[in-house]
Amino acid sequence: MQHSREFLLDCYQSMVTIRVFEERVHEEFATGKIPGFVHLYAGEEASAVGICSQLDERDAIASTHRGHGHCIAKGCDVHAMMKEIYGKRGGSCGGKGGSMHIADLAKGMLGANGIVGGGPPLICGAALTAKYLKTGGVAVAFVGDGGSNQGTTLESYNLANVWKLPVVFVVEDNGYAEATASAWSVAGSQLGRAAGFGMPGTLVDGFDFFAVYEAARTAIERARAGEGPSLLHIKLSRFFGHFEGDAMSYRADGEIQRYRNEHDALKIFRRKVTEAHLLDDFTLDAVEAGVVRNINEAVAGAEADQMPTEADLLTDVYVRY
């Protein structure tokens, strides 16, 4: 697959935005400014961007509790996201949702989700809409390795195939569900399950943007062609704890450092595109600098924004009641 310079720059910018956003949320959380449960996506950028860079507004995604990366990759406004994470009025959800419930339906981002396995059934619905209205759209459900054991996810595999829906199931296997290893919690295998439900499955190196891109391309094309669902089993790693505050004593000594050194999706992308002379370091550095400025502004904007007020408490429950 040949990629344009522009496309590659866009993808790099997305991945860097996720990384810088998450590193920054990590820092700000430590200062006590950010409330609640926050699950960071840093380390998994190639998955979100490798997939979402092939989607447009017709296409929908459903995310997980670890949703920031998917939101950014699907084009959500990072300034509004940051405000949301701070619980501010100008947030994507007016401060009512927070980190675990960022959504932008207009962009096809059906929401992060506080319920493990909450997304796959919803994505079958988005796919049904696309199929019924013949929009050509596809729908992508992200789940974790932990979420791959939830009945709601497994039922959705079956329903999507029985109804021949344009769905891609993406199992982001970062090795852990909270503190539990996927090597223990997942009996059989992700690809075996895909086969068991009669759909193609592909094992993907989730640190390599290009590997993700290619595997997703096949699955998305299949879906758009009306041939039904596929599953991608993406192996990757999270650079932070399950949530902010997790001491991570269940991980091996030096594990994260090793991933950061050897399996950093950003570094791997940079190496590949520079070695192939598609982009140069100077340009990529400029992208990074721009992202850092943008995230600085997002944090400043979030800090400066107002909290919602009592008048907001009872609104938005119903369209009409």
């Binding site: 959800c93 619905g125 039922e155 029985v162």
Partner: protein, 338 residues
């Protein structure tokens, strides 16, 4: 006006909305029936025939059978609603909520609030409830109190064919998630139902009997029981108002409070279990907001705090009866100061 059953009324409501709006689709287990099978298509039309005939008219794209996987297909209905369709999904018996409640109460119900008002989820979930069918503990529950507790849901409990048609059309046109409770024992009940489409607004109670002495608030199948009780009591000189709230959420508090301000006496009839029930809910409303109008204790009539028994001998005494309603009203009316 033509007589129609509750079953026909619901069927007609769905069909007329499907004709009116191509975004309306129907899905559920055997909503057509015979999918993939060698015999007839539309073999069932729902387990008790409510969706019969929709498949031949609207085709497979709009009348979808499903595997038995309520989380997946109720969730799919929710997801389809959030992305532009107006699905009418069937949770066959409300007793099955336990395998798919998350998609209803954490997803559909909360999208709008969690997403800061930016989601619209016009899904209707039809479901059968109630006793009298000798269907035992896992196929006879009411459970509408559980749904009423949840902000973001609307809960409809139609008491007759006329009501069912108008409320179903409203439910389908409504932009919020609606849980539509169909009492299985009412399916064969007939009454006059217009052929044309009409809506009955949510949150507006129907006063089915007007009286001075006692107010009865009753839900679903219990409205008919309350009407019978009222008619019989009239002959004994006790004049009873019967209120059918039609929807438990939103609830028409005003009509109830107004009536109690006239009668000063309240009986609530709820086929559900007693604890945290609609009976309790209405009692709270009146004890908090119309206390000074009350002339006597509130009386609630519900099923007991036990699962629904199978044996007809037990089920018949389990379900609130006309006799129990009459006795409660008589006891209250006896306390009327001369």
């Amino acid at each position: 006006m033509p007589k129609k059953t509750y079953r026909q009324a619901i069927n007609e409501a769905i069909a007329s909305e499907m004709r009116r709006d191509h975004r309306v689709i129907v899905l559920g287990e055997d909503n057509a029936g015979g999918k993939g099978a060698p015999g007839e298509p539309d073999a069932w039309g729902g387990v008790l025939g409510v969706t019969k005939g929709l498949l031949p008219e609207f085709g497979e794209d709009r009348v979808l059978d499903t595997p038995i996987s309520e989380s997946a297909f109720i969730g799919a209905a929710v997801g389809a609603a959030a992305t532009g369709l107006r699905p009418v999904a069937e949770l066959m018996f409300v007793d099955f909520m336990g395998v798919c409640f998350d998609q209803i109460f954490n997803q559909a119900a909360k999208f709008r609030y969690m997403f800061g008002g930016k989601a619209v989820t016009p899904v209707v979930i039809r479901t059968m409830y109630g006793g009298g069918f000798r269907a035992a503990s896992q196929h006879s529950q009411c459970l509408y109190p559980l749904f009423t507790h949840i902000p973001g849901l609307k809960v409809v409990v139609p008491s007759s064919p006329y009501e069912a048609k108008g409320l179903m059309i409203q439910a389908i046109r409504d932009d919020d998630p609606v849980i539509f409770f169909e009492h299985k024992v009412l399916y064969d009940v007939e009454e006059d139902v217009p052929d044309e489409a009409y809506t009955i607004p949510f949150g507006e109670a129907n006063v089915t009997r007007e009286g001075r002495d006692v107010t009865i608030v009753a839900f679903g199948r219990m409205v008919g029981f309350a009407n019978t009780a009222a008619d019989e009591l009239k002959r004994d000189g006790i004049s009873v108002t019967v209120i059918d709230p039609r929807t438990t959420s939103p609830l028409d508090s005003e009509t109830i409070l107004d009536s109690v301000s006239e009668t000063g006496r309240l009986v609530v009839v709820d086929e559900a279990h007693p604890r945290c029930s609609m009976a309790a809910d209405i009692a709270r409303l009146v004890a908090e907001e119309a206390f000074h109008d009350l002339k006597a204790p509130i009386r609630t009539i519900t099923a007991p705090h036990t699962p629904v028994p199978f044996s007809p001998a037990l089920e018949d005494i389990y379900i609130p009866s006309v006799a129990k309603i009459k006795a409660a009203v008589q006891a209250l009316a006896a306390k009327v100061p001369a």
